[in-house]
């Protein structure tokens, strides 16, 4: 009894939050979701697993990617040739509402319907396995699907396949469930999908998010991969294996630079000292002991990227963002009382004012989505403070 649990392949979906990317990396990035998924299927073939379960979000329906579909056909065919069944429950990104998929996957592929279904497999070893799951009929599944899952079947093993999130009690759009409910089914394994960061919700039986096999944004850091689950003394034990082609990292680096040229040098040195094992998109936060005498302009980073291509390539780290923080200086303007700044802040940093300022930009969906994120507005205030600090620095400079 051996299978692979993977989820959230998000094939052919773009990397988010990248402003520029060298062309050498662009191809790698573009192929990364495919390459990572291929590693999963390669492993399945190499290990001669009994089956593969995919817990949703194989691709993004909204992307309508031909490449993703073609890839799935090709890979499923590979597994079919090796007689490895594939069980899929579609999630919120590849929900089944779109009836476009007129051509069925190869016969080894079982896709669960909108109602919870159970597929029983008989393995080469003679063991029997039930796999229960369902596919999202549309973008949201707001009800707890647990009641529809059957109890442990009369098979040797029973595995639950679920794309969803633990219920929070408020706005749950993704098949909300509780761990106790899952445990109550007495399954041998719960293969979860939806959360891109892999995590173990329960030790034994394992209730586990596989995470996505390839990080696609700054929030998806760390090693990415899937799980090879094997029977060890009657228990199913998941073993993580890495598949990510491109990593994301958000290192916090303490530097001593006081000028931009120093900063540039020190960052380059740090890159040389911390080479990555694979292409790594690095969003650095530089902590400085003292504030820079110069302000960092918006295009400083792109200039750095252009001038340090070789160093970045050598260390396999591509700096996609560089945030510089200096020790917090209380906002004491030379001539203005802190009280006034605070008073000013209360009138400026209000939702109404910010939204008014944002104005027509809200018409752009991407910007609107960004603006609606709670972190955005906090970030804006931080940036404003940085602006002020910079201005004050200039004041000081002028004064001195």
């Amino acid at each position: 009894m051996k299978f692979i649990h993977a989820a959230d392949l998000h094939l052919d979906s773009p990397f988010l939050g990248l402003t520029t990317l060298p062309s050498s990396l662009l191809a790698t990035v573009r192929q990364s979701t495919f390459a990572a998924a291929t590693r999963i299927f390669d492993r399945a073939l190499a290990e001669h697993v009994d089956f593969v379960v995919l817990a949703g979000d194989l691709f993004d329906r909204s992307e309508q990617s031909v490449a993703a579909q073609a890839f799935l056909f090709q890979q499923f065919q590979r597994l079919d040739d090796a007689q490895i069944p594939v069980l899929i429950s579609f999630g919120n990104h590849d929900y089944a509402a779109d009836q476009r998929q007129a051509v069925a996957y190869p016969t080894n592929v079982t896709t669960f319907g909108p109602k919870v279904g159970t597929k029983t497999l008989t393995l080469v070893s003679g063991e029997t396995v039930s796999v229960s799951g369902f596919s999202y009929p549309e973008r949201w599944v707001t009800t707890d699907p647990m009641a529809d899952f059957p109890d442990h079947a009369q098979t040797d093993w029973h595995i639950g396949l679920l794309h969803g999130a633990v219920a929070t009690g408020s706005v749950d759009h993704y098949a909300p469930f509780t761990i106790d409910e899952l445990l109550a089914k007495r399954y041998d394994y719960w293969a979860l999908g939806h959360i891109h960061h892999r995590q173990l919700l329960n030790e034994q039986p394992p209730i586990l998010y596989a995470g996505n096999p390839q990080g696609r944004s700054i929030n998806e850091t760390g090693t990415k991969g899937a799980y090879l689950v094997t029977n060890q003394q009657g228990k199913l034990v998941p073993e993580f294996f890495e598949t990510g082609v491109v990593d994301w990292e958000t290192p916090i680096v303490q530097l001593t630079a006081t000028t931009l040229s120093e900063l540039s040098e020190q960052v380059a040195t740090w890159l040389a000292d911390h080479p990555a094992t694979k292409p790594t998109l690095t969003a650095m936060t530089v902590e400085l002991g003292t504030a820079l005498v110069e302000s960092i302009s918006t295009d400083w980073l792109s200039l750095f990227q252009k001038t340090h291509q070789r160093q970045m390539k050598a260390s396999q780290r591509f700096v996609i963002r560089l945030d510089v923080t200096a020790p917090a200086v209380t906002l004491v303007a030379p001539q203005l009382d802190q009280v006034y700044w605070d008073q000013g802040a209360t009138t400026v940093f209000t939702t109404a004012n910010e939204e008014q300022l944002f104005g027509k930009l809200a018409q752009n969906p991407a910007l609107a989505a960004w603006f609606e994120q709670p972190a955005t507005r906090a970030r804006l205030q931080v940036l404003a403070e940085q602006n002020l600090r910079q201005v004050m620095g200039e004041v000081g400079h002028d004064v001195s």
Partner: protein, 873 residues
């Protein structure tokens, strides 16, 4: 900041005029039209620029045509500056010199030096004249705040500057109505990219369509391929069949040959026959030699031809000598038997002539019949005897009756007639009964007739006693007659029985009396017949013996053919004698004859063997055998050839080929199959091409990557857009924050200004009013009595005093931040004397901290301390 010196080159009515000013209060006294307002305007114009030529009344260009403009020396932060402004574009040509450090500064530095005061602020706040003093009343709190914000906070010029910079930066990033700023461009690009992406995504539908087509066509391809494979097999099979056709035809022809009898014609048989014939030939040759030899010998020995013949057939003839006696006896017996035969024949013919009149001999009686006939004859004889007796009796009685008859005639009795009638009836019946067939019926009929007759005679007749005797007689007659009739009947019965017997034995023609003799004759005839038969049989046997003998003789000795037996027998006897005579002599002839005999014997045997050999094979001659033998060998060869062909063809092929009548038909089928195969191949090729095209199209769709590139581009663009928007927002927010903070800070100074103004206002109004308060829209003042007055309720003078108080307070409070001379151009015209003096006192006090340039027509102003300049000078 304060002004040190004003040097007018030419401005309004002034030309080449210099005014030296002190840091404190400077009082410029002059009557109306002396140029007080011109001087005020000169200060504003040199510091902030000449008004445009659109407003020539405000430009104060010199009336005498001297050089337009002038210069002002001022001290700012312990540095003396000289600013010169002469006529020129954009508000005049400016030169700026740092006199302290002896530096020439760019003219653009002038506004910076004056910051945050600009022309508007200067004219509204620092320059006061009579009409302007009134404007304050329309000022709202917000206006005041705005004015305050402008200069109200320390360093606000810097902050405002920064805010402006941020604003500019932000505007470079994005303008809601703009086109060129980065974000605007990015938004445009985003729109374009989104459109492109949507276009690229259209391939998605095409992809699925292609995929569906591919699947369908693949299925078709599979089916076609299978069909083609089948067709290929069929075609190949048919082609093989076509290739095998000549062989098949050959095989078929061979198979059609009629098979010949195959037994007894083997090589062994041929060898056997060879052996037999050669032996026969050898024997025949040997015989010939022997015969020649014998002939030679016979010629020497003078032997009869018969004997010579005999010698040639001794083996046949010798056994016949033994039969000679038997044959002789048989010949005699034959003659004897023929004599007997004739005798028997004669006798039998005599008997036949006697009894077999119909040509058929009666049969002899059996023993039972013989006795029955005897008994019947006896009974018949007895019956005849009795009849005769009864006839005699009847005759007698009839005689008696005739005698008694006459009496009876007299009495004609009706009954007698009756009697006669009955009798007649009885007779009729009796006689009628005779005609009845069968004895029993005759008897019954007779009895009936008798009974009736009897009734008539005795019953009827007996009625009359008179005829009793007659009646008795009649009765007797009748009785006799009855007996007679009975006897007759009996006879008839017997006769009939006899006749029946005679008929059944063929004695119908012979009277019964002769039957006995006939029986004897019949017995004899039968005996004769038997003997004749026996004799004939014996004769046949003997004749057979003789004829057999004769045939044998005829065969052996042809010379004796057609000669009578006795002659033959004599000849044979002669031969026997001669043989015995010759046999006693040991001659060469006998040896030769013996040899000849042996040879003959052997020859016969071999010939017989040869005959048997041929007969068993249903043949007559040896040549036949060889012909057959040759044919069968040929047939065997053909059979072998056929079998070889059959195995070459195989059962399946033969069965398959048997379906076709002609080669043409087969070729037709082959061609049809080939055509079908070609058609299928064509279809498959088309489909394969189509599939290849599809695969190519799919590959192109799959590999184009356009969509992915666009997607990533869009994601990157969005990231950049977000970054830009973020910076823009942050900048704007910072700008807003600075403004808000400045407002807050200024707002803090307002109470100071109000307090200061209240104080000044109190002084100006000789404490009639004690307090000024800012309301959201305007100001109100409090009387010493505690009453509140709206500005509109104040008299013009009091209102102007309020405005002066506020402005002075502003200048004083703001002096910490901005040092700007106060220019008061006859602002106190509406003040009464007391208040004017109070105002002077106040100005003098203020003059200690702020440079005040007070222009007035009031000559009494001399009383106040300060630099006094008389325009009339």
């Amino acid at each position: 900041m304060y002004l040190n010196q004003l040097m007018i080159y030419g401005f309004g009515k002034f030309h080449d005029r210099t005014f030296d000013l002190t840091t404190g209060l400077n009082v410029v006294v002059g009557p109306n039209e002396a140029g007080k307002s011109t001087l005020t305007q000169f200060i504003t114009a040199v510091l902030f620029g000449f008004p445009t030529k659109k407003h020539p009344e405000l430009r104060y260009e010199p009336l005498d045509g001297s050089r337009f403009g002038g210069e002002i020396t001022f001290t700012q932060k312990q540095t003396r500056y000289l600013v010169t402004r002469t006529d020129g574009p954009h508000g005049g040509t400016v030169t700026l010199r740092d006199l302290t450090n002896a530096l020439t500064l760019p003219s653009a530095s002038l506004p910076h030096l004056l910051e945050p005061v600009d022309e508007a602020l200067f004219t509204s706040t620092y320059v006061m004249n009579e009409p302007r003093l009134g404007t304050v009343f329309s000022a709202s709190k917000q206006e005041l705040i705005d004015r305050l914000r402008h200069v109200g906070a320390i360093g606000s010029d810097f902050w405002l500057n920064q805010a402006q910079t941020l604003g500019k930066q932000a505007d470079e990033l994005y303008k809601p109505q703009g086109r060129n700023p980065i974000l605007n461009q990015q938004l445009q690009e985003h729109q374009e990219l989104t459109a492109k992406l949507a276009k690229a995504k259209a391939a998605y539908g095409t992809y699925w369509d292609f995929l569906r087509q591919q699947e369908t066509q693949r299925q078709q391809q599979g089916v076609l391929q299978q069909k083609l494979d089948q067709q290929r097999q069929i075609t190949a099979q048919l082609e093989r069949q076509a290739a095998s056709w000549p062989t098949f035809v050959q095989w078929q022809q061979l198979a059609q040959r009629q098979p010949l009898t195959t037994t007894g014609f083997t090589r062994k048989d041929a060898t056997e026959l060879e052996r037999l014939t050669s032996r026969t030939t050898a024997m025949a040759a040997s015989l010939k030699a022997d015969q020649n030899k014998l002939q030679r010998l016979q010629q020497g020995a003078k032997v009869t031809p018969l004997f010579t013949q005999y010698l040639a057939a001794t083996t046949q003839v010798d056994p016949l000598f033994e039969q000679l006696t038997t044959v002789k006896a048989a010949n005699e017996t034959c003659n004897q038997l023929r004599a007997n035969q004739r005798d028997y024949q004669q006798r039998a013919t005599a008997i036949e002539q006697q009894y077999a009149s119909t040509g058929q001999m009666p049969r002899p009686f059996s023993l039972a019949t013989h006795q029955q006939v005897k008994r019947l004859q006896k009974k018949l004889m007895a019956a005849n005897q009795k009849r005769r007796q009864l006839q005699q009796e009847l005759n007698r009685l009839n005689e008696d009756y005739r005698q008694a008859q006459p009496t009876r005639r007299q009495h004609s009795n009706p009954l007698a007639d009756k009697q006669l009638g009955w009798l007649a009836a009885g007779l009729v019946i009796l006689i009628g009964a005779m005609f009845l067939p069968g004895t029993i019926f005759k008897l019954i009929g007779a009895l009936c007739g008798v009974a009736i007759g009897y009734y008539g005679v005795f019953i009827v007749d007996g009625e009359t006693p008179a005829s009793r005797q007659l009646q008795d007689l009649t009765e007797s007659i009748r009785d006799i007659q009855a007996q007679l009739r009975e006897g007759g009947q009996q006879e008839d019965a017997l006769t009939n029985q006899l006749e029946a017997v005679g008929d059944s034995y063929g004695l119908g023609q012979i009277p019964v009396e002769q039957w006995s003799a006939a029986q004897t004759a019949i017995g004899e005839w039968e005996h004769l017949t038997q003997q004749l038969q026996q004799t004939a049989e014996q004769l046949t046997a003997q004749t057979q013996t003789i004829s057999d003998f004769q045939i044998a003789i005829d065969q052996a000795l042809p010379e004796l053919q057609h000669q009578p037996l006795t002659n033959v027998l004599q000849q044979l006897a002669g031969l026997q004698v001669m043989r015995q005579a010759l046999g006693s002599q040991q001659t060469e002839l006998t040896t030769v004859a013996d040899d000849l005999q042996r040879t003959q014997h052997t020859l016969r045997q071999t010939q017989q063997a040869e005959e048997t050999f041929l007969r068993t094979r249903n043949l007559t001659t040896v040549d036949d055998f060889y012909r057959y033998y040759q044919q069968i060998r040929e047939q065997d060869n053909q059979l072998a050839q056929q079998q070889a062909l059959a195995s070459q063809l195989g059962v399946t092929m033969r069965t398959a080929l048997q379906q076709y009548a002609t080669q043409a038909e087969l070729i037709g089928v082959v061609q049809q199959a080939q055509h079908q195969q070609q058609a299928l191949q064509g279809q498959l090729d088309t489909l394969t091409t189509s599939l290849a095209t599809l695969a190519g199209q799919l590959d192109q769709l799959t590999a184009s990557g356009t969509q992915a590139v666009l997607q990533q581009k869009l994601a990157n663009l969005e990231a950049r857009m977000t970054a830009t928007a973020q910076t823009w927002l942050a900048n704007n927010l910072t700008r807003q924050w600075i403004a808000a903070t400045l407002a807050a800070a200024s707002g803090d100074r307002l109470p100071q200004i109000v307090t200061q103004a209240s104080e000044f206002y109190g002084k100006l109004t000789e404490n009639r009013y004690t307090e000024i308060e800012l309301t959201p829209n305007t100001l109100r003042v409090r009387l010493a009595t505690g009453e509140w007055r709206e500005v509109s309720q104040l008299s013009r003078g009091t209102a102007e005093q309020l405005d002066l108080a506020v402005k002075l307070a502003f200048a004083v409070i703001m002096n910490q931040r901005v040092g700007m001379p106060l220019v008061i151009d006859d602002g106190l015209v509406n003040f009464d004397e007391h208040r004017r003096q109070a105002a002077y006192a106040l100005l003098a006090e203020i003059g200690k901290t702020v440079q005040v340039i007070f222009l007035t027509a009031d000559v009494t102003v001399n009383a106040i301390a300060g630099n006094l300049i008389r325009l009339t000078d």
